[in-house]
Symmetry: C2
Subunit: 155 residues, 2 copies
């Protein structure tokens, strides 16, 4: 990976981390996501809003997918890349597949609720009609620390 | 099952089938869903609207969950029952689990995209924090026929 490319990845994940922190400040589970358009522009960025919106589907990933699809006027986002601080759950993974997102970069793995590398392993079945490239462990420590601090403070 | 109960199930699935037909009439994949509150009232009913809304997450199940949660001002719907004409995909199954829905009745099984009885088998992993009771095959022939007719007409 060239240094320029690596800095770009870091900048996208830093933005996702900022969204996660903003979610924590709102009392939401601190997960943030950024969707990057094929030209490198940020198409959408969001943190969890399930509590604020009374919407169990309002995970960060779902919110950026819905926002970017709405803006583009399309149901699919091929060649878009998703950055998210936590391993997507089965709901978000299946939404990512339905949207045909090209690459998923995530920070911390999620043994409790993850649906990509564990549990439902959503992309690993023929019923998933698209498998994005998946890269895990980007800024993993920062992403995991934010979740740990949030839940520690609530206990 | 008593006859009164059986007629109630049929009436809920008939309503889901009407929503599926309305979806077909809009050019959407004909899947319909009905969410029933603990007191037996219809809390929400919807058909797919992914095309109309440019929203890949706008499956019938997600739409009724979002509508009922919004109306109730809650993120969870324990003791609510979902009727849907087709086996939920992994995205919808995980949303159903997150919402803590009590029972899922579905019509046709979905070898192509299903995520309940096949593929991701979303409820069968510890990462799914709730497993609803699942009843399949309710009005199966009608539900399957609607999908078959829709796709046959498009070919």
């Amino acid at each position: 990976m060239g240094q320029g490319k690596a800095m770009q990845f870091k900048s996208h994940m830093d933005l996702a981390l900022k969204e996660a922190q903003a979610a924590a400040d709102r009392g939401e589970v601190p997960v943030g996501a950024v969707l990057v358009a094929p030209n490198g522009d940020i198409a959408a960025q969001a943190g969890n809003r399930t509590r604020e919106l009374n919407d169990p589907t309002a995970h960060a990933e779902i919110l950026v997918i819905r926002a970017a699809c709405d803006a583009l006027g399309a149901e699919r986002l091929p060649d878009y890349d998703l950055y998210v601080t936590l391993e997507p759950c089965a709901m978000c993974a299946a939404a990512i597949a339905a949207t045909r997102i090209r690459r998923v970069y995530y920070g911390a793995s999620d043994p409790k609720s993850g649906g990509v590398a564990q549990g439902a392993c959503v992309f690993d079945h023929p019923q998933s009609h698209h498998s994005p490239e998946v890269y895990e462990g980007l800024a993993e420590e920062d992403c995991a620390k934010m979740l740990k601090d949030f839940f520690a403070a609530r206990r």
